[in-house]
Each structure stands twice: as C-alpha cells, then as structure tokens.
C-alpha cells in the first residue's frame, strides 16, 4: 500500500469516527409518532432537556425566527449587532416604523436573549413614547412596548422578569407618567388591548393598577414554581403586587371616588400588605428566608431571653458596666459624659466612641460572668437573644427597602372613615378652587377637611402619624391653596388654625 492510499484511508476513518462522535453528541431528540417510540437524542439533546434549554422548553418555536437564524449561516451574533446599530440610528433619526420593524428582527434572531426584550421594551414604552407630542400617540407606544415584552414571554415562558416588566409597565408607566390621567383613561377604553390579552374583565375593573397586579401575581407564581429571579432583590420583587393595591386605592381617590369603594380598596390594600409580610422571602444568604411580619415577634423573643438571662444573676450587667466605667481614663469618661453637641474636636469624638464601645456589654459577656450551674443556660440564652436580634435586624433591612412600616400604617389610617371623609372634603375643595367659581364652597370644604384631618392626626391608634413627612407636606400644600381662597375672598388666615402645628412643621418644605 503506498503512502497516498494510506493517507486517504486514514482520512476516511477519521471522518467516520468524527461523524459517529457527532451522532452520539448531537443527535436531535424526536417525539413519538404512532407506534414509533421516539428518542431522547444525543448527549447534547439530553443535556438540553435536562437543563430546560431546548427550544420547545424555553417557549414557543417561531418558524420565522428559526429561518432567519439559519439564513444568517451562524453569524446571528453579527447580524444582531448590525441590527442593533440600525435600531439606534432609526431611533436617532426618529424613523419609528423602521425602528419597530428592526426590533422585531432582532428579537427573531435572538429570541432567548432576555436583556434584548427588556431593554427594547423599555425603549419603546419609555423613550420612544416620550418623543411624541400627542399623548394618544405616547400611549400607543407604551402599549407597543408592553406588546413587545409579551411577545418575549411567548418565546421565554420561564422568565418571570419579563412578566414582572409587563406588570411594571402597565402599573407604573401608565399610572405614574406625567400624563397618567389621560393614560389611565385611554387604558380603560382600550377594548383592543383587553381583547388581545383575552382579558374579559368589566370596564370598571380595567384599572391599570389592578391589571398590573395580576401580571405581578403571575410573575410571583412563576418564581414560586422555581423560576430564577436572577439579580432582582426578592423583597422588592414581592412588594410590587401589594403596592399595586395601595396605588389603586390612591388612584381611586385621585379620580374622586370615595366612601365604601375607597374604604374597601384601602382595606384590601392593608390585607395584602399583611399577607406580603407573612410571605417567606428568600435572602442573599442561600437557604435563608425571612418574614417581614416577624420582626416584632423576634424582638419580643429576644427581650424575653434577655430578661431570663438577667434573672440568673440580677444586676450583673450593670455591675460589669460600672466596672468598665471605672476603668475608663478621665479623658474618656469626660468625653463620654459630655453632651454630643459639645464634643467639638475629633479627639473628643474618638474618645467618646471608644468609651461607648467599652461600656457596651454584650449578652455573651454577661453570660460568661454567670457562675455555677447556670453558666450553660446563660450562654444558651445569650446566644438565642443575639440570634433573634440579628434576624430582626435582617428583616428590618428588608423592611426599610420597601418602606414596610410606612405602608402598613398608611393602609390602616386611610381606611378609617374619618380619613376618607377628610380626603373627600379636600378633593371637593380643590375642585371648587380649580374651577374658581364657588370659593365659598371651596373654603367650607377645606375647613371641614382640616377638622377631619385633625381628628385623624389626634387619633391615639397612630401617634406616629404626625411625623409622616409625606402627609405633612401634602396637607401643607393644601393649606397654601386654602390661603389663596382666603386671599381672594379678602379674609384673614385664622389665628387658631386647626392644623397650625402641621403648617409650622411642613410649611417651608411644601413651598419648595
């Protein structure tokens, strides 16, 4: 056998081996047809199925997209980049028809690139819509962005963030835009939208906040079934749905709907918020979950443990403190005992902090000084109380992120009949003031509203309400309008004004 023939045979053998390897690795899976059982495919196909990466598991298979992908001959990354650049140019040149078409093409080439859907959906609803002067056109582009995201959901049915985004756009973009009044009206009348999304709800329930709430609920159930939240903060993710109830109740009152309907809306909002507080929320620590409502309980448990610890050797904690106090240098002691505002030098601050740290007696330090048979028990109690406090602190961090306590209080306050009547009175007053035709009525309503607000503020159930900056500023702004009514009627501002404390506290801020 000469060398050339041997080489050819070697090539043939190599080709056959490689083909066999290719079959083992890349053979596609087939579905059973009739009596034919179908196959699970090669190693790659099995791996794809196992990890949920096969096209049919990710979402709908689009023949057009698949054709385009094939037509790019493996250069779809390059094609997507070129199209992305084109989309930017079209946006810059305000060629909306071509921008829209190009975004569809990008999506067809890269249907599982979630960031594309999210970025361009946002682009359409927030950036392109803002380019139009006519709010009706703006609304159309907001909806276009929502439709774009919804198409993304079709191809990626396991991506909760796309569903969450739809919820965000419907609730926040429509409900918080400058033209939210017009958007909310158009949304209510958008039969086509509700037909397209197979949403048969009656017209009175077509509120953007309620529709958004349903999308958030859908995203939550996807996550509960195991979908990945990726980099989204869980507590924020879960807060959006109950927040929709709060915003809905606020929007109702903004539209002039009060009485039972508003009260019911606030009650539902409060209930949902409490349910949100009951939810087990994952944290960044793997496997650790918290419940926002648990903070008070945990602090109570901690306090109980501390009390029990203190009982084991009464006065021990104070004794340790006194010992440490005695050990402080005169300079440290002086700086520590000095009122904070008098510590004028850096050195005084450092000394005071150092002294405070030394005087801080931890539970463990107390436990370690307990002698005799109670030592083990003391250590256990110290560990428990510190653990409870640490958990409460963790919950508190998440609570701050979503302003948990503020909204919990707000829902309670707002569903109170006095609050609803107070808001109704001020709404009526504002309407009369804006129309400018009935200043007497405006004045009467303002005064009635402020009387009611006084009652609400003085209610013993929520003493902290007076410290609510947002409410304070809102009332102070209302008082400015009341002043203008009085000025127009040539009447002086009452000396014993019922909300004078609020005006004094927040009047300046409301002017900014």
């Amino acid at each position: 056998m000469n060398w050339q023939r041997a080489r050819k045979i070697a090539y043939m053998v190599a080709i056959v081996l490689l083909l066999l390897l290719l079959v083992v690795l890349g053979q596609p899976a087939t579905n059973p047809i009739g009596d034919h059982p179908g196959s699970s495919g090669g190693w790659l196909a099995q791996l794809r199925t196992k990890e949920g990466f096969s096209e049919s598991q990710l979402g709908e298979i689009d023949p057009a997209g698949e054709t385009i992908k094939l037509a790019t001959l493996g250069l779809r990354g390059v094609a997507a980049n070129i199209l992305w650049d084109k989309a930017n140019t079209y946006k810059m040149k305000k060629d909306w028809t071509n921008l829209s078409a190009t975004l569809q093409q990008i999506a067809k080439i890269e249907p599982h690139f979630i960031k594309v859907w999210r970025f361009q959906g946002w682009n359409l609803s927030y950036n392109v819509s803002a380019e139009f002067d006519d709010y009706r056109e703006r609304y159309r582009w907001v909806i276009k962005g929502i439709d774009y995201l919804n198409e993304g959901i079709r191809y990626n049915r396991n991506e909760p963030m796309l569903v969450w985004d739809v919820g965000w756009f419907i609730s926040q973009k429509i409900g918080r835009a400058d033209e939210s009044k017009q958007f909310r009206r158009l949304f209510k009348d958008d039969d086509e939208f509700f037909r397209r999304y197979n949403d048969p709800r009656p017209k009175e329930d077509r509120d953007n906040w309620l529709v958004g709430l349903d999308w958030y609920a859908q995203a939550e159930s996807m996550v509960d079934r195991g979908a990945d939240l990726k980099k989204t903060t869980p507590v924020i993710f879960y807060s959006n749905r109950p927040m929709c109830r709060m915003n809905y109740a606020e929007a109702l009152e903004g539209d002039g709907v009060f009485a039972e309907r508003a009260q019911f809306a606030w009650r539902r909002a409060g209930e949902d918020w409490l349910l949100f507080g009951e939810r087990q929320i994952p944290t960044w620590e793997p496997g650790v979950r918290i419940r926002l409502n648990d903070k008070e309980r945990l602090l109570e448990e901690a306090a109980k443990c501390v009390a029990e610890l203190d009982k084991l050797d009464p006065g021990l904690r104070e004794r340790i403190r006194q010992e440490r106090l005695a050990k402080l240098t005169p300079a440290e002691k002086k700086a520590y005992e000095m009122p904070a505002e008098e510590r004028r030098t850096e050195e005084l601050h450092t000394l005071a902090t150092k002294a405070a740290n030394q005087l801080n007696v931890t539970y463990e330090q107390v436990a370690r000084r307990v002698s005799g048979k109670n030592f083990e028990k003391a250590l256990e109690l110290a560990r428990k109380s510190a653990d409870f406090e640490r958990q409460a602190q963790k919950i508190n961090t998440d609570r701050v992120l979503v302003n948990f306590e503020y909204w919990r209080l707000k829902a309670r306050v707002e569903q109170h009949p006095d609050t609803i009547q107070a808001r109704e009175a001020l709404y009526g007053a504002d309407q009369a003031f804006t129309a400018g035709t009935d200043l007497v009525r405006a004045k009467q309503r303002y005064e009635k509203g402020y009387e009611l607000w006084r009652k609400v503020l003085d209610n013993k159930q929520w003493p902290q309400l007076k410290e609510d900056d947002k409410l304070g500023e809102e009332l102070a702004k209302s008082v400015r309008r009341y002043r203008r009514v009085l000025e127009r009627r040539d009447e002086p501002f009452p000396k014993d004004f019922v909300l004078q404390d609020i005006v004094t506290l927040y009047g300046k801020r409301a002017e900014n």
């Binding site: 305000k94 028809t97 071509n98 078409a101 569809q104 017009q182």
Partner: protein, 640 residues
Amino acid sequence: MPIENPLPSLVEWFFGPPWYAGAGFVFLGVVVALAVIALLGGCLVAALRYGPAAAVKITGKVLAEAVPDLVRMSPRRVWALTWLAVKESIRRRVVVVFAVFVVLLLFASWFLDPTSTDPARLYLSFVLTATSYLVLLLVLFLSAFSLPADIRSRTLHTIVTKPVRASEIVLARILGFTLVGTALLGFMCAVSYVFVVRGLDHTHDVIADNLQPVAASPAGKAAGAARTGYTEPARGHRHRLTVDADGNARVEAERGHWHEVRTTSSGGAPAYALEGPEGMLLARVPVYGKLRFRDASGTDTERGINVGDEWMYRSFIQGNSEAATIWTFQNVTEDRFRDGLPIEMSIEVFRTYKGDIERGVLGSLAVRNPRTGLIVETEIFESKDFTITKALVPRVIPKAKVSRARVIARKIQVPGGGVEYDPPRESLNPSLADKREFDLFEDLVAGGEVEVWLQCLEPSQYFGASQPDLYLRAADASFGLNFVKGYLGIWLQMVLVIGFGVMFSTFLSGPVAMLATSGALVGGFFSEFMAKLARREVIGGGPFEALIRLVNQDNLMIELEPGLQSQVAQLADRVAEAGLFVTASILPPFGDFSYANWVAYGFDILWNPYIAVPTLRTLAFMIPVFVAGYFFLKTREVAR
C-alpha cells in the same frame, strides 16, 4: 420624508454657481487629470522597461490605437457580442435569482408586520431592499467572473481572432449584463408590485348594530339619525365609521388610509361594506422650497435652535416670538396652482413645559410676498408631530379669515455687524395689509416667488422643521410609475456594479475581481462615512485612533492619553485621511442611488433633479470605468 442631502436643480448642479463647483466642470477636470496621470504613469512604466525613447513611441502607439478603438466601434459587432453575453448569462442560470426572490416574497409575510403604524412603508422598503441585494449580488458574480472564465477556457481567443476591438468586448459585456439585469429587474418589479398591492389589501366588517346614535351637540343642535361606531378590527387597526342623518357613511383615516363605504340593505336594515384601502400607495408630487430661519429678534439666520437632538436634521424656532421657519417657493404660477396653495407639512414639536396636553401646541401658517413684504396669516393650527398636516391657502383670502396681516421686511445681518432690510423699510407700504380680501397671485406671489412662514404661537414651546418638511403638493403622480422609478435607482446601482465588475475582470482573476468589485460596492455605500472621516467630522478620531480606543475599550468622548502612541496614531490618521478622501471621491455613492425612501414614504421621485442627477452621475462613472477597462484589456496578451 427626510432628505438628508437635498440636491439643487439639474442646471444648478451641472453648471454651478459658482461655475467651478458645477458638476460638468468638475467632471471635465477630473477626466483630464486622470488622463494625464494615466498617460504619465503608462509612459513611466514603459520608460523603466524599454527606455525613454521607446516609451514615448509606445505611448504614442497606444494612444493612436485607442482613439479609433474608442471612437469607431461598430454597433453591429457590439450587439453580436452583447447577445453573446446575454446567452452566456442565461446559460449560467441567472433565473435562479428570480426563483430565490419569489421564494423570499412567499415567506415575507412571516417577517412583515401588517399591524405596523405604516405597513405600506414597511412592505415597500422590504421589496426594494430585497431586490437590490439580490440583483447587485447577481451582477457582481456575473460581471466579475465572465471575462476571466472566458480567458481561462480560451473562449476569448476565438473572439479576439475575429476583427473585434477590445473596446467592443468591454462595452458588449457591460451592455449584455445590463440587458440581463434589466430583464430580471423588470420581472421582479412586476412581481413585487403585485405582492405589495395584494399584501396591503384588506377590508373591515361593519356590524350595523354596534353603531351608536350621535349625541346632540352642546349648542342644542340635534344630530338626527346620525350614528357612529367602529369597524371590526383588521391588520391591527379599525376605523371610526359615521353615518349621517341622510344615511351617508364614511370612515375616518387610520394608519395612513381610509376606505370607501358601500351602503346596502339587508332585510330592510342598512348594511355597510368597506372597499379596499385608499391613500396607502401614493406618489405625492412635492414642490420643495428653499429654507431659511428667522430668530426671535426677527433677523434671518441659516439655522434655528438646537433643542438637544442628536440628529441635527431639524432646527427649531421659539414660540410666541418673531422666530419663524420660512420656505421660499419658485415658479408658483396660476397654471400650476389654480385652486390655491395646497401645503403639506410634517413638523416636530418640542415642549419645555407640559402645558395643556389635551391639545397640540398652536402654530400659524402665513404667506408673504417677498417683494412687497405683505404677509397674511391664513391658518392657525394645532400641532401634531410625525404626521402630515394639510392646509390650503385659497386663491382669494377674505380678510375675515385672516388672523393677521401686516407688511414686514426681511432683516439681514451683513458682514461688519450692520443690518439690511429687504425690501428697504422706507419702501414698505403698510396699507397693503388693509385690503378686504387678498388675491394669492396678485398680492402674495411676486414673479412666481412666494414665501410660506411657519410660526409657533405658544411661549416657551418650539417647532422644528427641515427643508423637505413643508412642501406644496402640486399633484399626485401614478404610484405604479413611481414604483418603477424606485426600481430605476436599483438599475443605476446595478449598471455601476457591472461596470466595475467588468473593468476589474479585464486584468484580475475572477475571485479577485469579485472581491475588488465588492470592495467598491461596500466602500461606495460607506463613501459618505469615509468622507466624514476624512473631514474629521466623526467623533472618536480616524481609523488608527479608533483602533486604540477599540483595544483599550475607551469612550469615544474622552481624549486619548497624551503620549507617543497617541501622537503616532493621530499622525497616521492624517495620512489615512488623505487616502480616505481620495477613495470616498472616486467610489460611486451607492446609497444616493436608492429611491426606497421616496417610494416608501409616498413621494414622487422628481425627474429633476433626483433622477436626472444620479443618472448623469452613473454615466460620469461609467465613461472612465469603460475606458479603463479597455486599456486594461489591451494590456492582456490575449487581446493584443
């Protein structure tokens, strides 16, 4: 429709002013310069190979042969060779491209969104773009591989042994492939037309029971039996349908079209059926004016205010001020505009505060006589951006319909800081504004010239416009013809590619000729960008600076770190700029030959200048390309 590089009229383009900037003069200059360079270059090569004396002799001989070769070509022989090229193309199965095109159209509906805001634009852009890609690719292969294949297979030897001139071979190849391409384009044009018309055709059902009675007007006027409602949706939209008290039904325009309504009777009750879409496939004949701006103090400026747009195509004017956007139209005669001036405009609105968003920003349109200064405000309108707003300035304008009439002079800043008025202020006659009615042609048009002023009436709000944003809609041309004109642009591109392909194939092998032609094609599409790079108008520096930024992942906006590396890169860029400038100048700007936007936006492609100028430019490229092809072929041994 945005026209980023508006062309002057054919005469102005060809002859200037100034005369030395006219295309005719520039062409002559370039041809002479190229001829001299080629002659000297050829002479130098010959001198290096055979010595100076022989070089002069050879050059003389080549020239002596070239003149009859180029001038005394036989049409009969050229035709025979052309036909040969046609037959060869058919043998190489060019028809496959047509089949690919048909398959593409069959599946196009998968990718085209008929619910888009402007489906006509989408469909038209698609067919024109797909056709141009396919045809250009086809002729690229045909032209680049033909001659080299003939030389390799020695088919050319049988031709050159006949009494045939090299120039005839080159010309015949160009003509032959052009003929094949033209036939192919013709078929594609016909199929695309049917595809577009059928693809956009739709109608809507009307359920008569869904129509609601129209409420009485606030003035107390009863609306009678009038009813209104929506048609059933189709293609992502529906139309509002109104039936008046007499039973006449009409639908409102939506997505740029409307439908005629046929009223029939079904069981005694009226039934409504909608015809196909109208107003979708248009070819508006625009008369464009020359644009200038007037600033808030009333002084003429070339541009308005930039409100922060990245794309500086439109300039803005401030509301509630003297600022105005002014278009001057020529040749406005009674014959052309018998019923008045039909104005169409598409302006952009920029609000600095929200204002009343339930309505558009108020603006006005006025017509001014440039000679007397009489300006008559004929229209107050509510703005609506990104849509075409129509207005008609009637032949006779009664004073009652005029919101303001006055006489004002143009205020022009002169070099040195002074101000000039046109017409001079002392010659202004304010009584001209006191007439009871104004005649468009007697009072406002002077020697066929008239100005249209656009102003924004609300303080702190702005209107933006560019030159093509306001035009006089002289008439409507045939859409079919305009569609064919759109294909003419592709034809011009095709001819250029054939020219370059044949020229390169006379001295390069097939694959190399194809690469060179592709290079010319791609370079031609980016010639504008190259020219901008050469003029240092691109942010981020020239090619070498860009390379450093690319490697370092530097932002375009920051300065390069000072140092030897940056200095060397910037120095190299200066050299590259010269090369880019030359390359950008000698490559045909293929993008300028595309009429896809004109057809897609529904504008008639104006013969003068938008067809005439590109046609002349194509010719201007083809002459030197053909001559170069001839000389290159002559250098081949086979053609001697």
